[in-house]
Amino acid sequence: MKSTSTLVLAAAAFAALLVAPAAIAADLTDVGYLDQAAVGALPQFQRANAQVAQYKSQLDPQFAAAMKRAHNDADRQRISGEFQQKFLDKQRQVLGPLFARAQTAIAQVASNQRLSVVVDKRIVVFGGQNITKSVVDLVNGPGPVVPPASTPPPAVIGFVDQSQIDQLPKIKAANDNFLKFANDARQSALQKMQAAKNNQQQQQQIFQQYQKSLTDEQNRTLKPLVDQTRSAMATVANQKHLILVIDRADIIYGGADITADVQNALK
């Protein structure tokens, strides 16, 4: 009787282990997140942005005057390039040091809290470590922010730069073709809608046909490439023992960049 009870208890404990993982998953997360808007709203960032905007407002009349003096399109292009470079230089000069300080602060907080990756707050729906306040305190603190002594530990989250993937010839060609198709479809829909300007029902039908044509074309030309890209990402991520892959724009610190591997896999 005693041995039966023991067996029942042991089995129950084993079953409990299977159905209640909550108790044993504690303290696993090394994923942090940051509210970038909160950092951007800091007075020093606001001042810097105002400074850049003021510089642009000074540059605009000079640009307009220079463009008026331009003799041809080549002149206009050259002038446009020169002024844009001036603006970018100023932007770098004013905002660059602030970004560098914020990035060092993020690195230090991440290191202190043993985070392997820091992502944008927008993509976190549950859990994770919010490091916004620590980063803001550090950025606002006196003196230089000291970089951490160690680099982030290997991450289980990887990222891809989708804009680079989009530049692969076959993907770029597909995107360009789709844009052209969408533009033609829009022009055609517009003409039909103008012809049916007093018939709302007909206009509704034209609009629905227009939307359907876009969806069909998207499914026909772009979806296979999207699926292929996702599959390549999953394969590379598997090889690198990554758990998830996110877009580069959502990564703030750490993470494994697998863009080049995915590009190679897609070639």
């Binding site: 089995a11 159905v19 993982p21 844009q84 770098r92 976190v124 996110i246």
Partner: protein
């Protein structure tokens, strides 16, 4: 023996229970392939949300409004466009009035001539041939000098009018050319600004994205016991980062310049085509104006020459002939009235159509002050508000599901997920239960 059998039954039962539990067990939060990480495919869950049809409807409205407001000549956006269209409508109305007047005058003349012919025939039949012959003679006796004077004056007036109309057309063409050129310049400027802002954004993003790598390299360079070769390698890598960023921005700028060059060529073609079209329209208008004036002048001359004609009906006619002439006069006046009524009805129909367009224009007047954009903006705000509410609810649900599953972090916007726990199905079921 019976105890043994009982134990075996318990073992068997437990084994079955364990196998069943193990069979339906989901990945554990501490699995090496999960490590406390879950994810939700937000866009899929959104589609199951009870408010998704509303969101979809707003999206459609935004698309439809966007499409309509892009259409040339559909919803005007500026007071200037309204003024231009009103002016065009005024011109069309005036043209319709002029056209109706010309037709009426022509008909009046036709009927008067036919009446005159009928009266002459009646007089001849009544034996007043002498009077008819005298009238004809009187016609021939109109002074050639008077006729020449009338014609010369009319030709001179017409010449002046012609010159003034052509001068107006030339001025209008010049003004349109300047307007089209200015519009093309504005469009080009807007596109250039857009591209510049994109380059600026790209430059910022690049420096932000590389900040992590840059920082790591600087940290490594801070190491005191760093061999010279390694230090150089890190410095080179730093320089390479700068170079790469500059190259990417430069490549983007080159592409943008190419885009701008193509856009400029496209704008130039558009200006040329529009100019040709406007020029043809103005030319046609000018010709129409001149033709109308020519008709008017011709009628004036004819009318003035007719005014020089002596009275056709003698005063000493018999009563029967007078009655016959009166009858002819009534008949032709009635025919003219009926015919003129048709022309007036046609004019009224044109005017009604123009009135409708005026009304439509008045309706669109509100959009001239930005109503179309306001409506778009309002819809976009409604959409954002609804979307945020839906996402917030999904976040809360995902949080509850994640806590139950013992996860540490749940992310959205996932590109690929070879590991982790997919909570999409669970959250979808929770959200769908809101329907019930």
């Amino acid at each position: 023996m019976s105890k043994m059998r009982s134990n075996r039954r318990i073992f068997a039962g437990l084994a079955v229970a364990i196998v069943m539990l193990a069979g339906c067990a989901q990945p554990r939060a501490d699995d090496p392939n999960v490590r406390g990480i879950g994810y939700v495919r937000l866009e899929e869950v959104l589609k199951k949300h009870p408010l998704y049809p509303q969101l979809s409807q707003i999206d459609d409205s935004i698309d439809a409004l966007g499409l309509r407001s892009l259409g040339a000549g559909s919803v005007p956006h500026t007071g200037k466009q309204i003024a231009t269209q009103t002016k065009e409508l005024n011109a069309e109305l005036k043209a319709a009035q002029d056209r109706a007047n010309v037709i009426l005058r022509q008909k009046q003349l036709d009927y008067a001539q036919r009446e005159q012919a009928a009266i002459s025939a009646a007089l001849a039949a009544a034996g007043a041939g002498t009077n008819g012959a005298q009238s004809a003679q009187a016609m021939q006796n109109i002074s050639a000098a008077q006729a020449q004077q009338v014609t010369a004056q009319a030709n001179s007036d017409f010449g002046q009018y012609q010159q003034s109309v052509i001068a107006q057309s030339n001025a209008a063409l010049q003004s349109i050319g300047a307007q089209l050129g200015a519009r093309a310049d504005r469009a080009f400027g807007q596109r250039a600004t857009q591209l510049q802002e994109r380059e600026s954004q790209l430059s910022l993003e690049l420096s932000q994205q590389d900040a992590n790598k840059r920082l790591q390299l600087r940290m490594k360079l801070n190491g005191l016991a760093l061999p010279d070769a390694t230090r150089k390698q890190y410095r080179d890598e730093l320089a390479a980062l700068d170079r790469n960023e500059a190259n990417v921005v430069a490549a983007q700028r080159a592409r943008d310049q190419q885009t701008l060059a193509t856009y400029r060529a496209q704008l130039n073609t558009q200006v040329r085509n529009e100019m040709a079209s406007q020029s043809a329209k103005i030319h046609a208008d000018t010709q129409a104006k001149l033709q109308t004036r020519r008709n008017e002048v011709s009628q004036q001359v004819s009318s003035q020459l007719q005014g020089l004609r002596p009275a056709a009906v003698p005063s000493n006619l018999p009563a029967a002939t007078r009655d016959r002439i009166a009858e002819i006069d009534r008949t032709f006046k009635a025919k003219f009235q009926a015919d003129a009524q048709k022309t007036i009805a046609q004019y009224q129909a044109t005017k009604a159509e123009l009135d409708a367009r005026y009304a439509e224009l008045q309706g669109a007047d509100a959009s001239a002050t930005g109503a179309a954009h306001t409506q778009l903006g309002q819809l976009q705000r409604e959409r954002d508000d609804l979307y945020n509410k839906m996402v917030e609810q999904i976040r809360r649900d995902a949080g509850t599901v994640a806590a139950k599953r013992g996860l540490q972090v749940v992310l959205v916007n996932i590109e690929a997920a070879p590991g982790g726990i997919d909570l999409t199905g669970d959250v979808e079921r929770d959200i769908e239960s809101l329907h019930e």
